[in-house]
Amino acid sequence: MSAPVLELDAVSRQHGEGATLVQALRTVSLRVTAGELVAVMGPSGSGKSTLLTLAGGLDAPTAGVVRVEGTDLAGLGPAGRARMRRTSIGYVFQDFNLIPALTAAENVALPLELDGVRTSAARAAARTALEEVGIADLADRFPDHMSGGQQQRVAIARAVVGDRRLVLADEPTGALDTETGEDVLRLLRGRCDAGAAGVLVTHEARHAAWADRVVFLRDGVVVDETTSDPVESLVETGA
């Protein structure tokens, strides 16, 4: 078996202390290998976003270890983590989080340029990424002039540009209608089929169903998990 791209080893995150202590996540372990898409489901407040921010190095655990491509994020220091976020980890949020003053291509190229890639090379990579998500023709548009679904495609392009191997998506379909949401899942799935590791936080079963495995969180604890083995087919394909 290949080494996991993402590994959470008995990770906990608590906020506050004493009477105001909140255990957002309690000794959660999770491994995601290349090619795999894992969905995380659970009610509001169950720790889904906490899990994802820890996986993405945006927050640090109070106990346990987070490794991305074998590297312990805690051992990297803030600068190293920031670099890891620009080169290995892509993040997709519900509200797209695009910079309004930049065009689609500029938004996508930004993480590469911040990482010191020359502008022309970064723009070329951005165009390739936009092509991959099917909106190459919108490269010069500003976010305000795009639909929600188009903006989310840009956000996905930005999350995967430069061949980042770990894609983390927090409710990426939350603001989209069913069909558009499905397109977003198709893209994430395609990215994982092409070798990335993905974690998708969602409360929608139809979207979680695109994942190989579904992990259920309750009160910061993993309470259940579906396996990745296909079940015996419930229905046969049409001829």
Partner: protein, 188 residues
């Protein structure tokens, strides 16, 4: 009911024999509701008795071929323009199970709900794998989506049940402190 109308609708496209009707029905519905050929012939016999289809001789291989009558065409038209009735809800094992789980003492309702949610999501994963096998036949993809929507609705309902059960538990009067709690108090 629906098999009868489905066969009539298929016959609108031209005369056919039993096996043909079965395979066309299954192709459109992705074998979701398998038909046996005996069922097809029984239905055809009843449709013939009711004047909705008639025999049209047999083909070179000796298959008995049927065609739709004018009365049959009217019947199909009416079927397509009449909504499917939401009659008495069918007995729903899951709803009954949960109704009993919340009332019978000693049942861990949370576990009942989670196990069902897991199983339903596994089914959804299976449907989704089928959806990914493009290109999908339009008729079959609509049937598949109907399964997806139904499973999705079930999961949403389970989420709702879970939230309600948790809220009810939180609002219930606090139980007497147990012995183990007391012990912890005294050792502190």
């Amino acid at each position: 009911m629906s098999v009868r109308f489905a066969l009539l609708a298929l016959l609108e496209q031209g005369p056919k024999y039993g096996y043909q009707l079965r395979s066309e029905f299954e192709q459109r519905t992705g074998s979701t509701w398998p038909l046996n050929v005996g069922q097809v012939y029984t239905t055809l016999t009843r449709l013939e008795r009711d004047g909705l289809v008639e025999g049209a001789g047999s083909d070179e291989q000796g298959h008995v071929v049927y065609r739709v009558t004018d009365a049959g065409r009217d019947e199909v038209a009416t079927w397509f323009t009449t909504p499917v009735a939401r009659t008495q809800p069918p007995r729903d094992e899951l709803a009954i199970k949960l109704a009993l789980a919340v009332t019978v003492p000693g049942v861990d309702v949370g576990t009942v709900i989670q196990q069902q949610r897991s199983a339903t999501i596994r089914a959804l994963q299976d449907y989704t794998r089928l959806k990914r096998q493009e290109p999908l036949d339009l008729a079959w993809s609509l049937v598949l989506e109907s399964l997806v929507f139904a499973a999705e609705a079930e999961v949403r309902w389970l989420d709702h049940c879970e939230a309600r059960v948790r809220r009810a538990a939180a609002e219930a009067p606090a139980p007497e402190p147990s012995r183990t709690d007391e012990k912890q108090e005294t050792t502190r």
